[in-house]
Symmetry: C2
Subunit: 124 residues, 2 copies
C-alpha cells in the first residue's frame, strides 16, 4: 500500500519524467500560449498520431496538462500547478544550497580575516 | 551527427531524467548542505553500493553533481548550474503562461465591461 508520505514524491517522479523529453517539453511550451488540439500539437513533432498520443497521456498523468474531448477533437490545456510543483522543489534546493554557500563563504572570510590578523600581530 | 541546437535540449533531458527519481532527489537535497562521500550518501537509501553508484553516475552525467576521488573515497559535490538550467526552463514556461493568462483575463474583463456598457445603453 503506498503511504500518504510517498504521494508528493510520486508526483514529482511523474512531473520530472514528463519533462525529460523534448517532444513533451515542446507541448508544454506551446500550451503556455493557450489550449490546442492534439492534432495541432502533433503537427510540428513530425510524429505519427499513435506515438504522439503516448506523450500526451504521459503529460496528462503527470498532472501538467488537462484534456477534454468534444466530438472528435481532444483539446489540451496547461495546468500551471504541475509546473509550479517542480519549480518549487528546485527553488527549495537552490535556497538550501545558497544558504550553505553563504555560510561557507562567511566562514572562509572569517578564517582569512583571522589569518591576516595573526600575521599582522606576528609582523608587529 | 547531433546538431549544436540539440545540445541544450539533450542537457535538459538528462537533468529532468536525473530528477525523476526519489533516491537521486535525496542525493541532491543532501549535497545542498555540503559535499559527501558516496558511502555517506548511500547510507540512508538502504541500497547496495553497486545499485547506488548507478544513481550517482546518472547524476554526474546530468552535470548536477561533480565527483572527485581521493584514495578510496569518492566525494560528491553539487553543481548549481545544472539545477539552475532546469529552474530557468520552468520559470520561462511559467512566464509565457502567465503572460497569456494576463492577456486572456484583460480580454475577458474588456468583453465584460463592453457588455455592461451595452446593457446600460439599452436600459437608458
Amino acid at each position: 500500500m503506498p503511504s500518504v508520505a510517498e504521494r508528493p514524491s510520486e508526483g514529482l517522479n511523474r512531473i520530472f519524467l514528463a519533462l525529460a523529453d523534448p517532444t513533451r517539453r515542446a507541448v508544454i511550451a506551446r500550451l503556455g500560449q493557450g489550449p490546442a488540439s492534439v492534432s495541432e500539437l502533433a503537427g510540428p513533432s513530425g510524429m505519427g498520431l499513435p506515438s504522439f498520443i503516448k506523450h500526451i497521456r504521459l503529460l496528462e498523468n503527470s498532472g501538467m496538462i488537462r484534456t477534454t474531448k468534444s466530438g472528435r477533437t481532444r483539446t489540451c490545456t496547461i495546468n500551471g500547478q504541475g509546473l509550479s510543483h517542480a519549480e518549487h522543489w528546485l527553488a527549495e534546493q537552490r535556497a538550501i544550497w545558497e544558504r550553505h554557500s553563504d555560510r561557507l563563504e562567511a566562514f572562509e572570510m572569517q578564517e582569512q580575516a583571522e589569518g591576516t590578523a595573526r600575521n599582522a600581530e606576528r609582523d608587529d
